[in-house]
């Protein structure tokens, strides 16, 4: 039973990896198991999240279930 966190842009550098498999459960509890620097970076206001490819308007109350993919999206700088 695991979920996957995906880190885009500079968050990948902070995490040292582009994705990380984590235990399921409430997001807050998952974040608490991470390196504090990474957890702080992921919680920045400008970072948006997408659960299984769908953007979330806010991230309160997220509970990761088996097979979920949660992506952390910092401000874009494309094109």
């Amino acid at each position: 039973m695991s979920a996957r966190l995906v880190f885009l842009g500079r968050l990948e550098d902070v995490a040292g990896t582009s994705q990380l498999d984590v235990a399921v459960g409430p997001l807050q509890r998952v974040l608490a198991t991470l390196d504090p620097n990474l957890a702080v970076a992921l919680l920045e206001d400008r970072v948006r999240v997408a659960l299984n490819g769908a953007l979330l308007s806010e991230r309160g109350g997220i509970v990761l279930e088996d097979g979920d993919e949660l992506a952390f999206l910092p401000p874009v700088s494309g094109g």
Partner: protein, 148 residues
């Protein structure tokens, strides 16, 4: 086919694409296009664009649909690279075919402005031996505000 939207991890061949697009839209009075390429200056040795599969191409498609709704177009081409690129490589190619010149220009510029500031790409540059993530530019937000 009025809408052709692609996310490529291999090099864009702009001349071949522009030729094919013009061939596909012989009835259009005009085609406005924009080619963005990696600049050959400022000591940037390489550039990398990352995308997020579930969001990036769907977002480009939704943007193309907005342009097709807003202007009277015969066709719209949007091709964006992802991955590692070098000076002179094409990053993005947008082309809009329309009966009226003004529509073609406006649609191409609208798509470019939104690709630059709202599409799901993250960019980093290799310079002086190190990679550096690029933050969004103030100018990009000003550009997009024109369309509201």
């Amino acid at each position: 086919m009025p809408r052709d939207v692609r996310l490529l991890t291999e090099p864009i061949e702009p001349a071949a694409e522009q030729f094919a697009f013009a061939m596909a839209h012989p009835a259009a009075g005009g085609i406005a296009s924009f080619l963005g390429q990696v600049r050959c200056d400022e000591g940037v040795e390489a550039l990398e664009l990352r995308h997020y599969g579930p969001l990036t191409l769907p977002g480009m498609e939704a943007l193309a649909d907005q342009a097709l709704e807003r202007w009277d177009l015969d066709g719209l081409l949007v091709i964006h690279r992802s991955g590692r690129m070098f000076p002179g490589d094409a990053i993005v190619l947008v082309a809009a075919a329309a009966r009226h010149r003004r529509d073609a220009f406006a649609a191409a510029e609208f798509v470019m402005d939104h690709l630059k500031s709202e599409s799901w790409f993250w960019k980093r540059e290799l310079a002086e031996g190190g990679w550096r993530w690029i933050e969004p530019r103030r100018q990009d937000f000003d550009d997009i505000a024109r369309w509201n």
